[in-house]
Amino acid sequence: MLNDKIKYLREEFHKEINLINSNNKLEEIRLKYLSRNGLLSQLFDELRLVSKEEKPLLGKELNLLRNEVTDKFNSVKDSIEGRAKSEELVDLTLPGKTKTLGSRHVLTQTVDEIKNIFKGLGFAVALGPEIESDYYNFEALNFPLDHPARDMQDTYFLSDSFLLRTHTTPVQIRIMEKHQPPVRAIMPGRVYRNEAVSARSYCMFHQVDGIYVDTDVTFAELKGTLVSFAKQFYGEDIKYRFRPSYFPFTEPSAEMDITCFLCHGAGCRVCKYSGWLEVLGCGMVDPNVFKAVGYDSEKYTGYAFGMGIERTAMLKYGINDIRIFFENDIRFLRQF
């Protein structure tokens, strides 16, 4: 009776499905066995007619059959469809659909890289205005009025006492005015110099300044910090040297050179055949600067440093004309 019908249906289904090899036939089978009015449904209808005692067993059998048929059907269906797909001709060499990306300017990328290294060394990041007073830009930084040191930085004046800042160093004053030691921060930003525009110089550029003031800051620690920075930024294998220089706001002052990474110290056009590249200026904060911000220079010592971003990026990427940074030719921007 129903039991036999189950057995028969199982055999018939397997026989039929094993002969299947196309989608059309598959649909026929689905209609025949699995549809609302298909053979399986009919058997379930018959289940209502069997006796109470037989019902659980036959019901279970019938459920098993339904699962078996459904699983088999699905697996055959998957294999047929998969075959069909692979037989369809897809040219996988077609280019992907264009998705546009933006990018940070190479100067921003360079600043960010420098920022990240110093943040890792425990520095905060501070900013200041581009229009500065003579006081912040020069006087507080120990550039006396009428001193030739002012000639080191050709200045755009906006009035007798206001100017476009010539370096990011005034932010040192601003941050020390606001905070008592310890102060430890870097100060990225844009600066201006009243120079004729050429391949080597532009009327504005970018700098990162840094300062650390506390009770026991020494020149030795300045060296340690900057060497750590230079190795992270320029490469572990660089050699370095510090040589005396002059900045009004530091004493002693130094310039840091690293071995030219193009010629590795052998001498080339970029390092003017010296084997060395000047990468930053630094020194111990001059007591007169501490005086300007009301720090006790007997109690506190500190170091400061500064570097030019354009020069750094030019060296790093082999760019030989500073003006290209500010042309914003998209063909240049896309390279970074």
Binding site: L94, K115, P129, Y192, A220, R243
Partner: protein
Amino acid sequence: MKLSLNWLKELVDLSDVPTSEIIHKLTMSGLEVEDVIDQNKIYENFVVGFVKEKKKHPNADKLSLCTVSTGKEEFQVICGATNVDSGQKVVFAKIGAIVPKGNFKITKAKIRGIESYGMICSEAELQLSDNHEGILVLENGVQEGITVSEALSLNDTILEIAITPNRPDALSHIGVGRDLAAIFKSQVKIPAINIEESEEKASTAAAVEITDKKNCPRYSSRILKGISIKESPSWLRRRLKNIGLRPINNIVDVTNYVMYETGQPLHAFDLENLAGHKIVVQSTEKETSFTTLDSKERKLPKGTLMICDGEKPVAIAGVMGGENSEVTSATRSILIESAYFNPSSIRNTSKALGLSTDASYRFERGTDPNGTVYAASRAAQIIKQLAGGEILKDVIDVCPKKIEPLQVKIRLNRVEKILGYKIDRGKIREILIKLGMKIIDEAESQFHISVPTNRPDIEREIDLIEEIARIDGYDNIPTVSRISITLGEKKDESDFTNKVKETAIELGFYEMINNPLQSEKAASLTGSPIKIMNPQSADMAYLRTSLLPGALRTVSINLNAGEKDLKLFEIGNIFRMKSGNKIRDFKDFTENESLIFVITGKSRIKSWYSGEENEDLFDLKGFVKSFISKFSLDNVLQYSYNHEGDPFYELCFSLKSANLEIGIGGSVSKKVLKQFDIDENLYCFEINLDNLKKIPVPARKYSELLKYPKVNRDFAFIFDKSVTYKQVSDFILEKSTGLLKSITLFDLFESDTLGKNKKSMAFALEFFDKDRTLTDEEVEKEFVYLISVVTEKFNAKLRGN
């Protein structure tokens, strides 16, 4: 500054030290050697030749065919100079020589069919002078075959040193010699003054009076009589040329020589041209005009320090002498000025006149007030040797304000505290003494120092610490591998800007950086600009008031390069005058951080999967929307629209918060674009980041993910063309009972079939409730209701759903 190594070696015994070591140590002690010219190397392969024979070149009228002998060998050489002749001694560049001017190598050459094996040189080619009129003919006594270095004393090494502004003492050979002596533990041999004076007293031949004692604390002078002006001997001319000076005559040359020897600028007056044989140092009381010895008439501002004679000005003190008193070939008596002037007075004069000379350069940095007498005598001594005559008795030395050496204490523990390492006490002592410091008193823990007056840069303990550090060498300062880190607030004030940048990049924009300096025209477009007092040029004389002109300039550059599809942004400061036209205070202007987006060209290029599409105003609006949603300000900012009336944007929209202007933009007007030679559609939006920053960003909170299904329905209506999207969408949301959560316009078109001035808008609606599953019935009810209210309100016609 150029320095002669031979000269330095006369002053300091460096015989055992290789040149490379000298250069290295100078650089490492703060006198950076920027360039080295080794004459022996430069003039390698240049020898004295004897022109044995000169014939005409058979194939060229203007060329000569010469036979040049170097004693051992003879060479056939073609020469183009008209002054070449047989019997001359000349400078002969052999094959392989590199000619200094033009830096080219001599090779065997065929000139008009005849071979030439070298070149006969002019002074210009050898870079001995600018004289390129013919070849250099040497004295006949020179031996042929010897090197030119030997024949012309071109055997020096010239060091180009960058002297920092704090080191006026190093602007001379003796000054640099002092550093070398300290570095190499040697002595500077200051040339001894050994002069024979005449009976006649200088003070009877001339008188010096200082009126402006503040600006001229000391004026010393020597008088010489009976001298004869002539060309300086070759050793002196060569030495001056080597350091880049032009020889003039034996008096001027000596004053220059002594300046480069001692650092003290000197000036020689023709005594007979000084009215009343008198020098008066005084400042001008009114604007004066004066002709300097370069024959230029100059306007001197009131208060300029002048050297006058009994009647008139004869020199601008410390800057340049006057034409009326300069030494000429007829001069027989001279007064040598050796003075100390107040540095800032000379600097002001030099600045005011735009005239910087070797003398003013030294005076404004600070010369040695106690070195004037030595320099005057030193010059007198050499002049007597070269020009004869007699030196009058005594130096006239007027010194109304004696400048005494400063006294400074240095504590040894302070040296260690600053540098981070301990330097031996004995070493510190030695360095200080070698640098010319006098130890007045000393204890175990400190020295009491008298600083020589040639070191005006040393005023404090810290200055002495620097001296010790640089002579000991910065290499000796340890590079510690552990650093101390201060804990505490580590704020990054650039966080906000960084987030703005990141967002712009996520939206596919490239960052540009434009020059904030602009022409008045560009800067005035968008506000009242700040003027630069001393610009390089008119097109960079103002600060930008908006990022728009810079962005347009960049677009124009790219269009010219054939790059038409652009999505660019910039973040930068813009500046505006607030009140008045003069900046006296930070309150008089504004400096704001601004952001601009600019798009032009295609948003999608033609490709295998789609056609091309141009960027348009709604692309821009989409970017702006995405941008502000990154800052969670969608519901905080309001748009407003303006179809006309904005000077820059034809179609314009702006963003505002309750009380702040945030941004403005749209399609840039053709008129503005034309000014930048742009003939494309272009869309910009500029955002005031300082204002944006002020808006409190709603705190971000997790909202529970929806557990119940959403129900979607679409409908489309035909509206009058004047009905806006916003009117309809706002109305629908307003009328909903709250089940409708979002509404999206998914189709918009106009066509003849719809009727004149009609348009179709199709909306996708999304309904859900976060607490339960909605039933079909309730959605259907609301949907039907919405259709009816839209139809009624806008007189719209349902197109189907």
